[in-house]
Symmetry: C2
Subunit: 199 residues, 2 copies
């Protein structure tokens, strides 16, 4: 199983891929940090992230994506870019039929270090040891992305993960529903109004 | 000029397209509300929205996208889905080279009704009048999306709008930067470590 860990962000988005081995071992496949400049507009930064993320998926073809669950924290201003980047990467992965799992920061820390309140240094240390690297991953976002992948390998079965191809199934169900039930009365009235306004 | 207004959301995402006419008039081209079921997982809902949004862009080929600026409000729980849906739609529009403009809810209300604190009823009334429709657009998200498109038509020049093709320009600059400057010392050390761990 090949797992892609995503530490979502607009300024830095960490991407780390591992292959699962025997007996809970894992091997590093690739790691990258996608950066977009703070002086570009948000849409352009998201567009650049979309291109980089899709190209990373094309290259490394993971079986599952493990992404940090973004939380409602007090400081909302810092969370907007993270939420937008997470929404974008989740949508792009799901439309390909990839199962996506979400893990909270404390779940990742607990899985990787045994301590849900571990600090950055402990996390980087354990990621380096688990993947048998000669040097710690840099920057921190690279280590965080790899930690998310390792966390999914070890928590896997217990984490909420969408089923492969679930997006296509949903779209098929919705298309069927539209054919079957048609429009509500209000929608029908409105659709007639649109047709008249076009004539 | 063809303008797509987007009222982002996971449960309902409003999409409204208008064509600009002479003397600040506008004509309705299309309107839709993309729905995703609350019982599906967030990634699957975002994947379905990505498919529907890209297909809507393919069909209607807008020149510019006008999207609601999502704000940091007190109730953070309700904002996460909106932020994720806005990030996804902005990224998908920008990667096509479409300029994206953001307008706040009060800017939209002020542009469409003359009153930044107008209620839903006033907004729907004015959208119906401006587009010369026989019946008010339903549901409310359809009217909100059309209001965003009308707002951009009338505020256009004064609003912050990204330049067409800005995402491709950014990606080209980044690719050039990577060729030129190379890696930092820490990144070089880390890249060597990765290579060694693979051997």
């Amino acid at each position: 199983m090949r797992i892609l860990g995503v530490d979502p962000g607009l300024t830095r988005c960490g991407l780390g891929v591992i292959d699962a081995g025997n007996a809970r071992t894992a091997r590093l496949v690739a790691v990258d940090v996608v950066r977009t400049p703070a002086d570009a507009s948000v849409d352009v930064r998201l567009g650049a992230l979309a291109e980089a993320f899709d190209s990373f998926l094309d290259t490394h073809r993971p079986d599952v994506v493990s992404i940090e669950r973004v939380f409602a924290r007090n400081d909302v201003s810092t969370i907007m870019g993270t939420a937008q980047a997470s929404g974008l990467t989740m949508g792009l992965a799901a439309r390909r039929g990839l199962p996506v799992a979400m893990h909270t920061p404390s779940e990742v820390k607990a899985a990787v270090t045994g301590n849900g309140r571990a600090d950055k240094k402990q996390m980087t240390h354990m990621v380096t040891r688990i993947l048998k690297l000669d040097a710690p991953p840099r920057p921190a976002d690279a280590a965080d992305a790899l930690a998310l992948a390792i966390c999914h390998l070890w928590r896997g079965a217990s984490a909420a993960t969408s089923t492969p191809g679930a997006t296509k199934d949903l779209l098929a169900r919705q298309a069927q529903g539209r054919q079957g039930s048609g429009l509500t009365r209000a929608q029908e009235q409105w659709a007639r109004a649109i047709r008249r306004s076009r004539e």
